[in-house]
Symmetry: C2
Subunit: 353 residues, 2 copies
DNA sequence: CAACCACGAAAAATCGATTTACTCATTTTG
DNA sequence: CAAAATGAGTAAATCGATTTTTCGTGGTTG
C-alpha cells in the first residue's frame, strides 16, 4: 500500500530538536512563541517542523500542566435540537480558545451523570459545563463541589451557591405567553410538564400563573405534571381529557410535552387553533412548516453557551467572587397554533387537514 | 469553604505505592488485574486505593500506549435527530470498551472537516468514525489515508478502497418507496435532493427510478437537485411549481428537503395527502404527531453505529483484509402523507384544517 | 582587569502512569 | 547438593512534552 509508510511513529519534539541542531527545550519555546530565541535558531526550528510535519502532542503537552486544556460537557441527551445546538456551540467556543471539548450524554439519568462526571474528573480537565438532568441540587453538582471542580451549570438550573449558572429566563418567557393567551381571550388553560426538572418547571409554571392571574383573575389554570417520564404524562393527559375537561389552550413546558399534546389532539380529532390553541416551550425547525405552525418559546442557545463559556473561562483563569446566576431572555414566537377561543364551532369532525 | 481542601492535588500512583508499602510498578499491576501479585500485597494496594480515593489518570496512562484509548467522531452536524442519536450511540459503545469518545462537528464544511481530523490525529487516538460532509472521496478521507489513520466511514458513503464503510441501504429503501408510490397509482413524481452528497443521493435516486420505471414504464419522474445548500433548493422548487408542474407525489431524499417541501406546500395552500403526497428520507419524532403524519424512511442508527464500532475495533485490534462495505436495511413508514392521486378534487382552497 | 550582568541555550527534573530489565528468594531438577 | 527454573517485586527507562536550573559567553562596570 502506498500509504503504509505514513503509519510510522510521528515525529516528536526530539526529532525536531536534533534536526534543527538545538535542544528540545528550545523547540518547545519556539512552538510556544517565546521571543528569547535567536532568530536564526527559531528559523531552523521552523524549517525542521515544516520538513517533518511536526505537531505538538496535546496529550503530552497537557501532562505537566495543572489544568489540562480539556473542557467537559455533560448534557442530558444529544437527540434534541436544543442540546445539539448547545454542544455545537460549546465545542466551537472551546476550540476557539485552544481547548478540546469532550461531550457526554447522561441519558437523563442522575446515576450516569455522576459516573460521567467522575470520569471527567479523572481526565483532570480545566472545567466542566454541566446541564443537570434534574436541577442544581443533584448528586452531580454535589460531586463537583466535593472534589473542588471548576464548572458552570446550565439550562435546568436557577442559581447555586457554588457554581455560576446560566439558563433561559423561563419566568419572563412564560409571563409573555400568559399575556398572549389571556390577550386572545383564553380563560381556561392547561399547563403540562414534568415535575422532575423542578427548578425550571417551577419557574415556568409560576411565571405563567402569576401573570395570567394578574391580567385575568377569573382565569382557570389546570396543571398536569408527571413525575419522571413522558409516557405517564401522556396517560395523565388522556385521563384529564377523558374527564370531559375542555381547556381552550394548552401551554407545554417542554418540547416532548408539545409532541404529546399534539398527538393527543390528533387522537381526539381536535385541530389547532380552531378546537384548541397550543404553545410550547422550546422551538424546533419543523414547527414552522407544519400546518398549523406551532407557537413556541425560543431559547437563546448561543447566548447561554456563550455566557456559560465566558463564566467558565473566567473561573479557570482564577476569577474569584460569589457565583453569578444569569438568565438569558427568550423569544416567543406566536404562530398559527394560537387563536382566539370560540371563533369557530367546537364540534369535531368535518374540516380535517 | 468546606470543600476547599478537596482542591488539592489528586493522589498519584506513587502516593498509593508508598501508602501500601510497595512499588509503583506493583500498584500498576494490581490496577491492571495482573495475577502475579501476592494476595497480601494486592490487598494493601486495594486498601490504599480505597483510602486515598485513587483513580488512574487516563491521560498519563495513555502516554506510553501506542494506541490511545480515544475514539474520534466527526459528524457533519449535531443538530439533527439522526446525528444526535448517532453520537449518543457511538459514545455509549466507545465507553463500553473503556474508550473516550471525542466528538466534533464539521458544520457541513469540508475544510473544517480536514482541520478537525488533523487535530484528532494530533491526539493519536486509536481510531476515528467519520461521517463525511460529502462522500468518501473528500479531502478528509484522503488525509486519513495519507496519514495511515485507522477509521471507519459512515452515512454519506458507499464503499471505499481503504476504509470500512457502513451506511443505510438507501437504494433498497428507495425502491420500496417507489413500489409504494407506484402501487398507490402515482404516475408523476418529483424527487428532490442535494447534489453535494453525491454518493447517497445517487443511490437513492437510482434505486427509486429503476424500480419505479420497472413497475410503471409510463411514470414521469422529475428531479430537482440543488448543488450545495438548502435555500437554492427551495428556490428551484418554487420555480418548478411556478411553471405549473403538478406532480402527485414528492419524494425528498433528505430531511431538510422534507421540511422545504412541506413549507412550499404551505405557501401554495396544498394539503397532504389530498393535494399531493409526500415521503421523506429520514424520520423524525415530530413526523408522527403532525396532521397528516409524514411518511418517512427510517435509518437504522443503532445498527450503523454498532457495526461501525465493531469494524473499527476489529481494525484497531489488527484485523487485516480488504475493507468491507456494509449496507444496513431501512424501515419505510408509510404514514398519512401518502395517498392515492385523484381521490379528491385537486382544487385548492376550502378544506383547511 | 577582576567582578558582575544579561542573554541564550542546554541539561535535568517533572507530569503520572506502564513496561522492561534485573534482583533476590525459593523451588525444582539433574 | 549444585545448577537451573520459577515467583514476586523493584529500580529504571520510557512516553512527549514543559519548566526549572545550570552553564557559557560576551559585554559592562567599578
Amino acid at each position: 500500500m502506498a500509504h503504509r509508510q505514513a503509519q510510522q511513529r510521528r515525529p516528536s519534539i526530539h526529532d525536531v530538536a536534533s534536526r534543527a541542531g538545538v535542544s528540545a527545550a528550545t523547540v518547545s519555546k519556539v512552538m510556544a512563541g517565546v521571543t528569547t530565541v535567536k532568530p536564526e535558531n527559531a528559523q531552523r526550528v521552523f524549517d525542521a517542523v515544516e520538513h517533518l510535519g511536526y505537531r505538538v502532542d496535546p496529550l503530552a503537552s497537557d501532562m505537566r500542566r495543572a489544568k489540562r486544556r480539556i473542557i467537559g460537557a455533560i448534557m442530558p441527551e444529544f437527540e434534541s435540537e436544543f442540546f445539539g445546538q448547545m454542544v455545537s456551540q460549546l465545542e466551537s467556543l472551546a476550540e476557539q480558545r485552544g481547548y478540546t471539548l469532550v461531550a457526554a450524554s447522561s441519558r437523563e439519568s442522575e446515576a450516569r451523570e455522576t459516573e460521567i462526571l467522575a470520569r471527567m474528573h479523572d481526565w483532570r480537565g480545566a472545567g466542566v459545563v454541566l446541564a443537570p438532568v434534574r436541577n442544581e441540587h443533584g448528586p452531580a453538582a454535589a460531586f463537583m463541589k466535593a472534589n473542588g471542580m471548576t464548572g458552570v451549570l446550565i439550562d435546568r438550573v436557577l442559581s447555586d451557591d457554588a457554581f455560576d449558572t446560566v439558563s433561559a429566563d423561563s419566568a419572563s418567557a412564560s409571563a409573555e405567553v400568559a399575556r398572549a393567551l389571556i390577550g386572545k381571550g383564553h380563560r381556561h388553560i392547561l399547563v403540562i410538564g414534568l415535575g422532575e426538572q423542578a427548578a425550571t418547571v417551577r419557574a415556568r409554571l409560576d411565571g405563567f400563573r402569576a401573570t395570567a392571574l394578574k391580567l385575568a383573575p377569573d382565569v382557570r389554570i389546570d396543571v398536569v405534571l408527571a413525575e419522571t417520564d413522558v409516557e405517564p404524562l401522556r396517560a395523565q393527559l388522556r385521563d384529564y381529557f377523558a374527564k370531559g375537561e375542555r381547556p381552550t389552550a394548552v401551554y407545554s413546558l417542554f418540547l416532548k410535552g408539545t409532541l404529546v399534546a399534539l398527538s393527543e389532539f390528533r387522537r381526539r380529532g381536535w385541530h389547532c387553533p380552531n378546537d384548541i390553541s397550543l404553545v410550547g416551550f422550546d422551538d424546533a425547525e419543523w414547527m414552522q412548516v407544519t400546518w398549523p405552525a406551532i407557537a413556541a418559546v425560543v431559547q437563546p442557545v448561543r447566548q447561554i453557551a456563550g455566557h456559560a463559556m465566558e463564566a467558565l473561562f473566567a473561573r479557570i483563569e482564577g476569577e474569584e467572587g460569589p457565583p453569578t446566576a444569569r438568565l438569558e431572555p427568550c423569544k416567543v414566537l406566536m404562530r398559527e397554533s394560537v387563536g382566539s377561543p370560540g371563533n369557530v364551532p367546537h364540534s369535531g369532525g368535518g374540516d380535517r387537514q
